[in-house]
Symmetry: D3
Subunit: 339 residues, 6 copies
Amino acid sequence: MEKKTYISDLQDQTSFDDIFALAAARMNQAKNGPYWQLTLQDKSGTMEAKIWFPASQNYEGLTAEQFVRVQGRVSTFKDQLQANIKTLEVLDPLEIDRSAFVPCSTTPPHEILEEIETILHTEVVHPAWKKLYRKILKDQAIRQAFLTAPGGKTIHHAYLGGLLEHTLGVLKACRAMSDLYPSLDRDILLVAAVFHDLGKAYEISHGISREYTSPGKLLGHIHLGLEVLAPFLNKSDLDEGLILHFKHLILSHHGQYEYGSPKLPMTHEAMVLHMADNLDAKMNTMDHALEQTDTNNWSGYQRSLERDLYVPVRTPQPEKTTRKGPKTKEDQCSLPLKV
Amino acid sequence: MEKKTYISDLQDQTSFDDIFALAAARMNQAKNGPYWQLTLQDKSGTMEAKIWFPASQNYEGLTAEQFVRVQGRVSTFKDQLQANIKTLEVLDPLEIDRSAFVPCSTTPPHEILEEIETILHTEVVHPAWKKLYRKILKDQAIRQAFLTAPGGKTIHHAYLGGLLEHTLGVLKACRAMSDLYPSLDRDILLVAAVFHDLGKAYEISHGISREYTSPGKLLGHIHLGLEVLAPFLNKSDLDEGLILHFKHLILSHHGQYEYGSPKLPMTHEAMVLHMADNLDAKMNTMDHALEQTDTNNWSGYQRSLERDLYVPVRTPQPEKTTRKGPKTKEDQCSLPLKV
Amino acid sequence: MEKKTYISDLQDQTSFDDIFALAAARMNQAKNGPYWQLTLQDKSGTMEAKIWFPASQNYEGLTAEQFVRVQGRVSTFKDQLQANIKTLEVLDPLEIDRSAFVPCSTTPPHEILEEIETILHTEVVHPAWKKLYRKILKDQAIRQAFLTAPGGKTIHHAYLGGLLEHTLGVLKACRAMSDLYPSLDRDILLVAAVFHDLGKAYEISHGISREYTSPGKLLGHIHLGLEVLAPFLNKSDLDEGLILHFKHLILSHHGQYEYGSPKLPMTHEAMVLHMADNLDAKMNTMDHALEQTDTNNWSGYQRSLERDLYVPVRTPQPEKTTRKGPKTKEDQCSLPLKV
Amino acid sequence: MEKKTYISDLQDQTSFDDIFALAAARMNQAKNGPYWQLTLQDKSGTMEAKIWFPASQNYEGLTAEQFVRVQGRVSTFKDQLQANIKTLEVLDPLEIDRSAFVPCSTTPPHEILEEIETILHTEVVHPAWKKLYRKILKDQAIRQAFLTAPGGKTIHHAYLGGLLEHTLGVLKACRAMSDLYPSLDRDILLVAAVFHDLGKAYEISHGISREYTSPGKLLGHIHLGLEVLAPFLNKSDLDEGLILHFKHLILSHHGQYEYGSPKLPMTHEAMVLHMADNLDAKMNTMDHALEQTDTNNWSGYQRSLERDLYVPVRTPQPEKTTRKGPKTKEDQCSLPLKV
Amino acid sequence: MEKKTYISDLQDQTSFDDIFALAAARMNQAKNGPYWQLTLQDKSGTMEAKIWFPASQNYEGLTAEQFVRVQGRVSTFKDQLQANIKTLEVLDPLEIDRSAFVPCSTTPPHEILEEIETILHTEVVHPAWKKLYRKILKDQAIRQAFLTAPGGKTIHHAYLGGLLEHTLGVLKACRAMSDLYPSLDRDILLVAAVFHDLGKAYEISHGISREYTSPGKLLGHIHLGLEVLAPFLNKSDLDEGLILHFKHLILSHHGQYEYGSPKLPMTHEAMVLHMADNLDAKMNTMDHALEQTDTNNWSGYQRSLERDLYVPVRTPQPEKTTRKGPKTKEDQCSLPLKV
Amino acid sequence: MEKKTYISDLQDQTSFDDIFALAAARMNQAKNGPYWQLTLQDKSGTMEAKIWFPASQNYEGLTAEQFVRVQGRVSTFKDQLQANIKTLEVLDPLEIDRSAFVPCSTTPPHEILEEIETILHTEVVHPAWKKLYRKILKDQAIRQAFLTAPGGKTIHHAYLGGLLEHTLGVLKACRAMSDLYPSLDRDILLVAAVFHDLGKAYEISHGISREYTSPGKLLGHIHLGLEVLAPFLNKSDLDEGLILHFKHLILSHHGQYEYGSPKLPMTHEAMVLHMADNLDAKMNTMDHALEQTDTNNWSGYQRSLERDLYVPVRTPQPEKTTRKGPKTKEDQCSLPLKV
């Protein structure tokens, strides 16, 4: 069975029959008997759903991370759409293309990774750096972690492929800044850009719902990344001073103590990497915050940025280059990621 | 008479006979009689100097901003070089090429301004923006202020032409970021980049020694810039929403309340302008801080950045592209700027 | 039809038939069919109301800012009073005296403005200042904006006439401080007190429900005020130094960077204006927070002040001067403000 | 012998023969032998002075707090005036009018205290408050402490009588604010204003040079004041709720945790007292900072206020009321305060 | 009647018949008529309960702090357990052992107090300190306040006996630190440890539900404690310097201005007391936060500590000493505390 | 030749002939000719010294880290003692016992290390932890680094053996806290206490004058310590969860982001380790600050603690246990540490 409709398309008072992932499942108690409280998810979003008593008695052992076929109808409850489920069937996860159920970058992750490798191939000159990045990216565990990691839990790039999308953004920004300030050490800056957030692949789980892992919470992605990179650095042909600088670039890229950066950027390259990281994260955060605006083009208060955001009137453009705006969800990645 | 030697070249126990500007002049009292305490300045730096009693009696009315020919000898006092002056002659300022006496950008200011205009010419498409920037840059008072303004008092771009150098840096960074994030409103971003710090031309005096003006201290360069730009905006052909956005770009470019920004950046373009401004200022600040380093390549503590800075080991480069490093003072601007 | 009862007087289980403004209107979906979710407003407050299915089908196109006659009954839902509407009729707004529907200062706005003008007339001596304030207050657009502006959105003076009430409070406080510290420049301080928050008339909309405008959010009332005042200052007979000082007074009156003040107060008068502004705002904020207290005279936690507030035991008073306390809503302004 | 000249009048290269207090005295070692390093003080300021070898051998046991007759001559050392002493004679302190040697308020302290008592007499109505303030002010130890206490060590009111001057300023400001906001509890506010800083009389020593006492540093003036007031409050006729409020007024008057206020102001009166205290302290701090300004009317950076201060152009005044400006030192208190 | 079941043991869909305290009682309005909204409390926790119409009509005057026998049944409402009450009977409070209804320390308060006295008896050597602590602890009002006071309102030791439990913890920590750093003044440190939070006995009410008192909110427990201790200190045989130090220990024990500490710790002993207080409070806060963890051993976000907390894997232990973990509620204090 | 006198014993106008280390050496220029400006150092402190012209001509190539025999005389210059050197002889460093020239812990480092090992031996039970700490401490490079490392550069434990002294202090504090809170995981806490600051041995150089190393500044001691420990952890028999917890203990021990802690303590053990570290550091900082006090027992302002410190009156003690006070320098370590 093919998935036909997405949660973001469902409207009040419409019926549907389609496949979803369960992001959460719990049995609750209503006056007239127990009911299932489910959270349906696909790549376009999530929706609360209920199987009321006595139909609820027909189902046992529903849990998060399952895939289910659901027949139901959408209604409104407290200004939120929710689904009343008539029938539900648990599916074999091996039959499912997961990419339809997890929010994903517009460009398929493997294409983003290829673009990153192409840029490194073109731009990095020093043999020891070339050898280093190739060895790391050839490591199958690292490569797989990179391909499936989100870029964050909630604020920015919070979707499959998000880590790669952010990595590519930072890499391109660093390349541009190297053009602007030619005295920068281009090689080390570009390699560090690619691996600056590698630890995020280990900080956040890659399931249907993204959660911080215990190592992620206890050690943080800066330390986790350096742990993964350490054996490669130890075996590299790089000068000791370059290794020291590279570690400093990773260690200081959050830029400020209050963001958990154990060190402040102390070199031109460290400052540039921090700023490129900050720029790309902020632009993506703003994109998502501005996906929904009020009638005056305001986003409402954004806690993470401590301000409201605004879509301004745009300079008229003679050409066809219209504002692309935040990514549209419809054309997102469809790469087959069998479990 | 031609200026031959610069203060940065003078060494202990050498004699000299050359032209300097007076950055400060004051008569003090020693045990054996009154003496002149002078601060000599040329574009390479400043040096304290003394005319001891009784020679001091030969001079009257020495004041800051005069140009003088001095014969003297350099000695060391408390680890600082200083000059003992044997004879001094006050010169006619009209005979003097000021550019030798004020630290100046490496590229002559008028060339930087031309490059800015070329970029605007090439990049800005919308007729109303084109008309606006041309009118502003054709205004002779604004143009002259731009050409002679420092970029700051002490921290970054603190030299003649510094405002233009910083403006060009921010303009190029905004252009690069427009390439990275094509949904940005390129026209407004580039025009705002050029005028974001225009108020600095009125915030700091343009004499031998740079000082904040009273309007600069009481109102700040953000407000001063908007005051200068207001009549041009009012007479422009721009849509009201574009004018509103433009003002917001200027008003919010400091990015944080604690830096005196009355508003936080609330649009993508405002965020980018703030980041481009921050990037260029930080890179220049680091350049100057790293002009002198200790034997381990550390700059010592930099109060404005709250950290030490470091020149790391550099990736070996096959080509001739060696690190340019901080600008060398010797080849700075020599454009004739008669008073 | 005359408005008879006010929302603050409605009690549980009572019926009513009266006129209200709609502060919000939205159609929602209940199990048995769609219903209207309305927010009724008059000058005494707001109340949620519902038109249930199938009566809801009788109404179309209800929107905020309409005036309606409503028959209904009050009940309690989650400890909040709400109204069940039986019949509703949309009225012609031209027939309505708006002053009954918008919370308003106790004293009618035009009387407050007259008191402000009387004080200026009595106190300001220098002809150029007299000319300036008269020209500004004679401007019909400014006068109208002043008369209908709230003093804030939520924290203090958040009602029609609130800006004038706050302005009068700050003016009187500055007059008193001028008496205490006679070396202050009384003229400039009093004129600046009157116009320090003029920008607020443009920062917040003046409709049934108060909202920040886009210029208000993007530029802020400090800048908006200076923009409105600039042409008057430019054409005034004032010495340039006085204009500079006046602008500094407006620009620095928030007193601290973290409150969006682009400059700190740097003169005695600027410090006094900031403190008078702060005093009047805090007193009004406390008045409103203490309108409702618990049985121990505590207000509960006030987020804007980061503390609980308290009504202390009061020194017994021999005379009749009893504590007036927070303004009572009943006797508020009834000036006819036809749309 | 009468004191004739004051330190603020002494100029370079002049001789003098007059009486001073010693604020510090220490024997140091020069190349040719030991010399006395003294700090001379009178109410107009302090000046460093030296008795060189071998004259230094004629004096033994010079210590701070002595009064001395000195013959000497003023010279300049590192841009500071200093005195070379020819002869010195230690005087009997009982013969000395101390008021000439300690910086003092313009109005004699006892006159300020009388004015405070007059205001209380006129304004306070409730018998229990009247009884309380009279008992406290009749206590001879408290009265004497009040009369001789400075208002602070360095920042504001740092001179004999300063505590009373500040107390009167706060009292008047509270009276004015009670007029502005008539619902305030006038009696408690005025009595609290008079005693809010009583603890300062015990926090700072009253000798020639002002120093924090150990109780002052370990407990602070808020606690010390409450300790002194406690027995009076316990024996008063006041309602328990009034005593509680009074203590809260004293305890919270610093207004912010970071200034060592253990509680934030939680009543209207507490907020007003804090603001009146802040206003008077800031005005006095600014007066002193602006006693010396540069040629552009700027004070230079003031660390305690984190800004530069400015004397603005003043509105022309038809009458004779010229700006009084900071108090002139010449006409300060001459009350006889025999040891 | 004996209390049999505790709230923490009640489960969905079970019936019960037992005694509870009322922490809150309020009559509300449902569609079909008025109902009672009650908060049942015993030492194990609280649960919301309802008496629906028309049964609600059978009860009048239910109020907080009453003891009631309730027959009812537990159900789930919005993921919270709540009780539907069938019958309710108000009991005579004199018949009730309160200790079953207020959360209480594991060890009975009087035993904790005895342990504190034993430690003081053993450790304190100086006669004047011995006399002081005995006099204070023999004061019946103080002793009773100590025995029934909670240690805080919500964050740590928020239960009957909590103040004593915290006091014992700080006392033991100070004893241990005196062993580690033998130059500390052991006597004063231990006595101050016992009385450092005495004011808390007056800051929080001791009823069924704990609330801050008005003196607690207006003056704070630091001041309240010093007020209670002052007469004992004044009549003690202690050297004045010791009394000063003792007051400083109490006054500075919060350690930081932002926590309402009017003074920072300035002696070794004050620093140690602050740290012991902080340690014991943090450990107890963490114990309670970790009473409930998710399946990964995480507590969820703890606002008071600004972080998540974690129960780590524990080093395997050969002996029987298993982790005791947070106190179990079942074996809490059962001392008879008749009203 | 034996060292006889120490710098802390030298007084004004005395002659000496003894051995010192050079902490700094530089040739300067006086009016009459060049002179050597030297900084003499021994374990008791440092003193500036000069070899004047023409004697200065007799010496070449003097540099920091040399050992010299000096004959000279002490004088006072600007209230500082300094030495005029008559003759100087550079010594063979191999002949020198360095321990006399570097400030050192009172107890010899190797004895402290033995005490640490004894405690671990006694307290740690789990075989995998026993194996881990033994392997690390048997590593000769780590052992040597530990033995010669200072505990800090300036604030606390800034002397040879200081790292071990601090480590022992933290270990003992953790042991005491494990006794106070028996549910703590004692084994992991004690092992983590011993290695929490191991990275400091690599963060600060161990020469005559202590300086931060480049890895120390760029990566910090938290990261450096984890790098050194990583191979031992990887090869250990410990459960993965224990290794994760151990790393978290090291990573979070600074306790607050603003102190460069990349993570906050999230377990009981992490909180305790942070507090033990903080306690020991603060106590040592206070010891050193209070080595010199004024006549009122105050230390003067301590920038690192943002306060003055005080030596209070001490409770009289019947026994002989007098206050030991800050360590006396005279009896410090004399272990032979030949270069």
